[in-house]
Symmetry: D2
Subunit: 279 residues, 4 copies
Amino acid sequence: MAIVLGPNQFGKAEVRLVHVDRSTPVHRLTDLNVSSALRGDFAAAHLTGDNAHILTTDAQKNTVYAFARDGVGEIEEFALRLGRHFTGSFDWITGARVEIEQYGWDRIPVDGAGHDHAFSRAGAERRTTIVTVDGADAHVVSGLAGLVVLKSTGSEFWGFARDRYTTLPETDDRILATDVRAEWDYGTLDVDWTPAWERARATLLEVFATLYSRSLQQTLYAIGEAILAGEPAIKEVRLSLPNNHHLHVDLGRFGVADQREVFHASAEPYGLIEGTIRR
Amino acid sequence: MAIVLGPNQFGKAEVRLVHVDRSTPVHRLTDLNVSSALRGDFAAAHLTGDNAHILTTDAQKNTVYAFARDGVGEIEEFALRLGRHFTGSFDWITGARVEIEQYGWDRIPVDGAGHDHAFSRAGAERRTTIVTVDGADAHVVSGLAGLVVLKSTGSEFWGFARDRYTTLPETDDRILATDVRAEWDYGTLDVDWTPAWERARATLLEVFATLYSRSLQQTLYAIGEAILAGEPAIKEVRLSLPNNHHLHVDLGRFGVADQREVFHASAEPYGLIEGTIRR
Amino acid sequence: MAIVLGPNQFGKAEVRLVHVDRSTPVHRLTDLNVSSALRGDFAAAHLTGDNAHILTTDAQKNTVYAFARDGVGEIEEFALRLGRHFTGSFDWITGARVEIEQYGWDRIPVDGAGHDHAFSRAGAERRTTIVTVDGADAHVVSGLAGLVVLKSTGSEFWGFARDRYTTLPETDDRILATDVRAEWDYGTLDVDWTPAWERARATLLEVFATLYSRSLQQTLYAIGEAILAGEPAIKEVRLSLPNNHHLHVDLGRFGVADQREVFHASAEPYGLIEGTIRR
Amino acid sequence: MAIVLGPNQFGKAEVRLVHVDRSTPVHRLTDLNVSSALRGDFAAAHLTGDNAHILTTDAQKNTVYAFARDGVGEIEEFALRLGRHFTGSFDWITGARVEIEQYGWDRIPVDGAGHDHAFSRAGAERRTTIVTVDGADAHVVSGLAGLVVLKSTGSEFWGFARDRYTTLPETDDRILATDVRAEWDYGTLDVDWTPAWERARATLLEVFATLYSRSLQQTLYAIGEAILAGEPAIKEVRLSLPNNHHLHVDLGRFGVADQREVFHASAEPYGLIEGTIRR
C-alpha cells in the first residue's frame, strides 16, 4: 500500500500583537495572541523539499502585524480578514485557520476616573475565536477560556453509580468550582460579535451562579442550553469544565469542632467534564 | 429547533501513579500520568441531575490505582485493561478513552553500576498512548512527546513563495530544532508494543539526524514515511513539530568578525508544522 | 577545619487553604497559599537522623487548616498567629517564617447585584505577606505580586551610556509595561494592615500612571518614595520590575505608512530593574 | 527621616544563547541561559531620570552574545569574563552579578555512534553558576538545579515530635524523592571548574543513593558534608530539597490485598527542607 501525505497545515503560533489606538488622547489598547495555519497543496514541500508553495510562517506573522495597522476591531472580524487574505493570496492556498485570544486591560483609576493611557491587566480570562476559511466558506467559533468560578453552596453530588472502586461519600452541600473553557459555534457570519459574546458570557455566569446544581454535568448542560436559547445565531456550544476539587478538611481530627468551612483547594488529579449542546 | 445533548464524556485527568516492583531487591519503577474518560448514556445527569449512571471520576481514579496492584506492564496494555473494564462495568457505559504518559527514570550509577533502588529522572520526553474503546472495538495510538532535537547544520530553507509581507532571508545553512510530538496509529492490536515503540523512536531520530533538510515539512514527511515503512502494524503517523527558531546574532554590529556560530534561541512566536502521513 | 551545620529551616510550602464564612447567607471567601518554615535546634536530625525535634511539615500544614477554623482575617494577623504558635510550641523551635499569598475573588453579578455565594476569580494579582518570628520578635513585610501594568505613552528612554555593544535606539515615546513585585517592610506591628495595604497599592498605581517616566528606574524610585511618604509605619520598600518589552513593529517594511501603533509584546529576554527605597 | 535609595541593580534576564563550535565537522553545542545585573552609582537615574550612567540592559544582552564569539568555555569562566568586563567598563559600575544555567545535549546515536551535528536535549537538569564581581573581587557559586531523584526504599521517617496537629503515621519504609537545587560556594577562583562540578554532582548522587535515610534533613546534611570533604576549594554547600511526596494508596479499600507498591505522586503541598553546611 502506498504511503501518502494526509491532512497537513503550517503556520505561526502565538504572535503577541499589541495595538494602541492613539487617535485621541484617550488611548485604546488591544492585546492579542494570534495563531495562523494554512492549508492547501503543499505536497512538493513535503515530498521533495521544493518550497515554492510555502508562504513562510514569518510572512504570516508579518501579515498579522501589518493588518493591525488601522486597528484590529473585533477579533472575529480580524481573524476573518486574515483568513480570507491568506486563502486569496495564492491559488494553492485553499484554507486557513486563525485562532485569536484577547487579553483584557482595565484603565488604572486616578482621582476616581480611568486614566487616559495607563492600564492594568484584567484577570486570566481570555476572549477567544477560531475562524476557519475553506475556499469561499468561512466559519466562526467564539468563546472564552480561563474564567475561574466557584459556588460555595448550592451544589450537591449524590445518587451516583457504585462499583467496588467507588469510595466517594455522597454530599448534599459542596463547593463547586471550575475553570471554564467555552466555545460557541455560529451557524452564520451575520452576527454582532461583541454584543453576542457579552450576552453568552453573562448567561454562562448567571446560570452557573443561580442553578442549584446536582452535578457539574447538569450545570454544563444548563449553561449550553441557555446560551443556545438566547442566541439563534449559535448552533452548538462546547464546554470543557475541570472540576477544581475543594476537599473539606476534617478539623475534628485536631480536637476542634468542625464547621465545614475549611477546604483544601486541590489541583491534582482533577475531574474533567466535557460536553456539547446543540440544536 | 430542539436543543439536545451532543457528544460528551467525563473522567479523571492526570492521575499520577507510581508503581514500584519490589519483588526482587532490584526494584523496577513505573511512573505514569493517566487520564480516563467515559462515554455512553449520561443524558439524565445532564438533563435532570439524576446521577445514577455516573461512575464517578473518583472511582475512575481508584480503578487506575487498583489495577496497578500487580504491576502496570506496557502502557498500551494497561490502558486497554482500563478501557475494557470501564466499558464492561455498566450497560450504559459504551466507550472509554484512556490516555497515558510515561516518564522515564534511570538508575543512579554507583561504583560503575546502576543502583538497585535509587533513580534519577530522565529527560522531559514521555512515551504516550491513547486507547479508545468503543463497545467491542479497541484502538491504540502510541507515540512520544517532549523529545527536543536540534541539528546544527544540514538544513536549508529557500525558494519559498514571496508576497509583500515576506521579508525572511533565504538560507542554505541554518539550525533546525524542534520539540517532537508524534503519534502513530495502529491498525491492529496484535503488536509487540515496546519493541515497536523503540523502533519507531529510533527511526524518527535517525531520519531527523541524517536527512539533509530543505524544510521542516520535508523532515516531517520523511520521518512519517520511514516509520510506516518500518512497521506494517502502523497505518498512520501524525507529527506536530514546532520550529524552535534559533536566530543568528549578527556580531558584525559590534565590530567583531561574525562566524555564524552565535544564536538566540527564541521561544516566541514559533512556527508550527503539522502533518499526517498514511498508507 | 570542621564541617558544621549552618542556617537551616524546613516547612510545608503552598498549602492551598480556602475558607468560606457561612455565618450569614452572604458567604465570604478567603483563598490563600500558605508556606511555613521553622528554625531552631534541629542539629540532631541533620547529624544523626534523630527526629525528636522535628515538628513535621505535615503537622505544619494541619496547623494552617486548624487555625482557619474561626476565620482567617487579615493575612498579616493570620501569619503572626501561626508564626507565634510554632515558635511557642517547643523550646527548640526559636523562629518561624510564614509566607502567605491571597487570591482575590469577585461576586458574580446577577440582576445587577453581587451574588451571595457565587464568585469569579479576580486577576493574577496576589496580596502577599512574609512574617518572620524570631523568639519574642516579629516582623512583617507585606506587598503584592502579579500586578501587570502598562502605559501606552508618557515614557521616554534616552541619554543612556554607550559602549561598543550599545545599539538600542533612543526613544522619546515608548510603551512602559511591567509585572510588579512589591514588598513593603514595616517597622512596627501597630498597623491597620488592610487599609495600609490598600493605600500603598493605590499609591503605586497612581504614581505609575501619572509620573512622566524617563526610565523604569525613575518610576521605581518614585513609587517607593511615595509609598514611604504616605505611610510612616513602612521603613523600606523593595521593588522588582521586569521590563515587559513592547517592541515597535516597523510596518514600513511592508509598504504601509507606519503609525507606531503596532507592537510585539516580547517575553524574552527581559530587563529586570530591582531596587530598595528606605528612610 | 529622609528617604534614600538603597541597594539596587538592573540587567537583562534570561538571555538564551546557543553557541555552535563549527571548527571541525564534529560540532560542539553550548546552550545557556544568562542573566546579568549591574551595581554601582545609579542614583541620578532613580532620582532625576538622568540615564547617563545606565549601561542598557539591551547592551548587556549584546555583550553576552558578542563575548560568545570565540566560544563560551566553562560557564564559571564565561561569567567571570562578563562580570569583570561590566565592572571595568565605566567608573560608576562597581559590581556585577552574572548567573548562568547550562542545558545539556546528547548526540543522537546513529549506527551506534553519536552523530556529528544532530543532538537531543538531555533532561531538565541544569548546571548553574552565580558569579559576583565587586570591584577587584570575584566570587563563584556553582551548582545544579532540576535534578530529580527518587529512592524506592532505604528511607524511614519516625520518632518525630508530636503536638495536637500531628497526624502523620510513622514509617520505616517510604519513597524518598526530591528535586535537587544545590549551590556550592567556592572560597577561591583557583579551581578546575568542570572536574570539580562533576565530582560534586557524583558525590551528591552517590550519597543520595547509598545513605540509609532517616529524614530528608539527614540526607541533606550528608550530601553537603561529603561534597565539602571531597573538595577543599568549596567553603559552603547550600541545598534546597522539596519533599516530592509519594503517598501510599491503600488498595485494601477496594478489597484487594495491598502490597505497598502503588503510590500517588503528589505535587501539593510539599515539604521544603533547606540547609547550609560549611566549614
